[in-house]
Amino acid sequence: MARIDDDGDTEAGLTALLVAVGTNGDVEAFEALFRHFAPRIKAYLSRGGAASADELMQEAMLIVWRRAALYDPSKGSAAAWIFAIARNLRIDAYRREKRPEFDPSDPALVPDGEEPADMRLAASEDAERLKQALTQLPPDQAEVLNRSFFSDQSQSEIAAELKVPLGTVKSRMRLAFAKLKAALRGTGEES
């Protein structure tokens, strides 16, 4: 078995760890993932104010363990994949709503065409550029994004709290998404 001598704190390292868990059921790799993600997932899951954030975090990490074989590194980073698991758990735990999602094996699903070959070339560089771009977002766009991410607020709730029109919230989200997408793709973005 390949040893992972990375400390797991780079995106490429984390992705390699998740692949090792998925292909070999590697407990050491999983422990390294746990050490990295558990404190972040706990912080994310306690934003709803729950005292039980530690238990929820444990649930999230167990789902990561059980589903790791389904992880496909060509479709995104380990952080994004693990985020989606924590997000769904949070919706279920706090809002008690369903999370409607498409089913990749549904016969009614329209399948992907040919993937562009350059979809994911340099995951670590992507992560670094994304990190930079997140810190450089204008404050009003960062505010709207953070409320959506951490506080689980809908667009209309954000508009009401910030006392701005709904259209303003939408356009700030669009601008933020455009900047961050450009960073992920490594294309410059004229402001």
Binding site: Q58, W81, I82, A108, F177
Partner: protein, 217 residues
């Protein structure tokens, strides 16, 4: 299927962040099942979620957390019951909408809205949206309406046209409260679409407004 009207960036980002209510999310997720392009955009939006998670100030975990989790690694969670029997024909309606309806189009229990139009209300576990399937006869208009907020309309079969364009299977119209539109099914076939609104529709016609409370539309 050629899709021309896609999920707007702000809607897709809200869905990816997990802050979009269940009702809207049904329309978004069903469009995603029909649209590989939007699925690629969703991957990018979820990368942003991953980046924000990475940037989160870590919170101390219970010292025993790792041991508790490790002790449970060999648990085999109860698997969900096997998939439903393979359908003889490819369904028209993709998941997740098909699950909400309890089956494909033939399972829908339509209620008449008059003038040949009909609807089927869809239950969700939240009360900020109203979700319904609408069937508009070929060539016929939907009663003119304006609405207090957002309205998402996803075409499943047939097509409709309004002042803003033509919408065929898979197309998602994202209208806000500023629009009073007059959608009309194209003459070739009945139009079946999913409509999600965040406020009861205010039909402009006083007759329809009168029966609105009775029909629950």
């Amino acid at each position: 299927m050629t899709i021309r009207h896609h999920i707007s960036d702000d809607l897709l980002l809200s869905y990816a962040m997990g802050s979009l209510a269940e009702g809207w999310s049904i329309a978004v997720a069903t469009h995603l099942a029909l649209c590989p392009d939007c699925r690629r955009r969703l991957v990018e939006a979820e990368e942003i979620g991953g980046g924000l998670l990475e940037g989160t100030q870590p919170q101390a975990i219970e010292p025993s957390s790792w041991e508790s989790v490790r002790a449970r690694l060999s648990e085999r969670p109860a698997e969900k019951a096997g998939r439903a029997a393979v359908q003889a024909e490819k369904p028209i309606i993709p998941r997740p909408l098909r699950d909400y309806l309890g089956g494909d189009l033939e399972a829908v229990k339509w209620r008449s809205l008059g003038k040949g139009a009909s609807q089927c209300l869809i239950r969700t576990e939240e009360n900020t949206t109203q979700v319904r399937l609408l069937k508009i006869p070929a060539g016929k208009p939907v009663p003119e309406h304006s609405h207090g907020g957002r309205e998402l309309t996803l075409v499943l079969s047939g097509a409709f046209e309004d002042e803003t364009g033509r919408f065929g299977p898979g197309d998602l119209e994202d209208a806000d409260g500023s629009v009073t539109h007059q959608p009309r099914a194209t003459p070739d076939a009945d139009c079946i679409c999913l409509a999600v609104t965040d406020a009861p529709l205010r039909f402009s016609s006083w007759v329809v407004r009168l029966v609105q409370p009775i029909l629950g539309i």
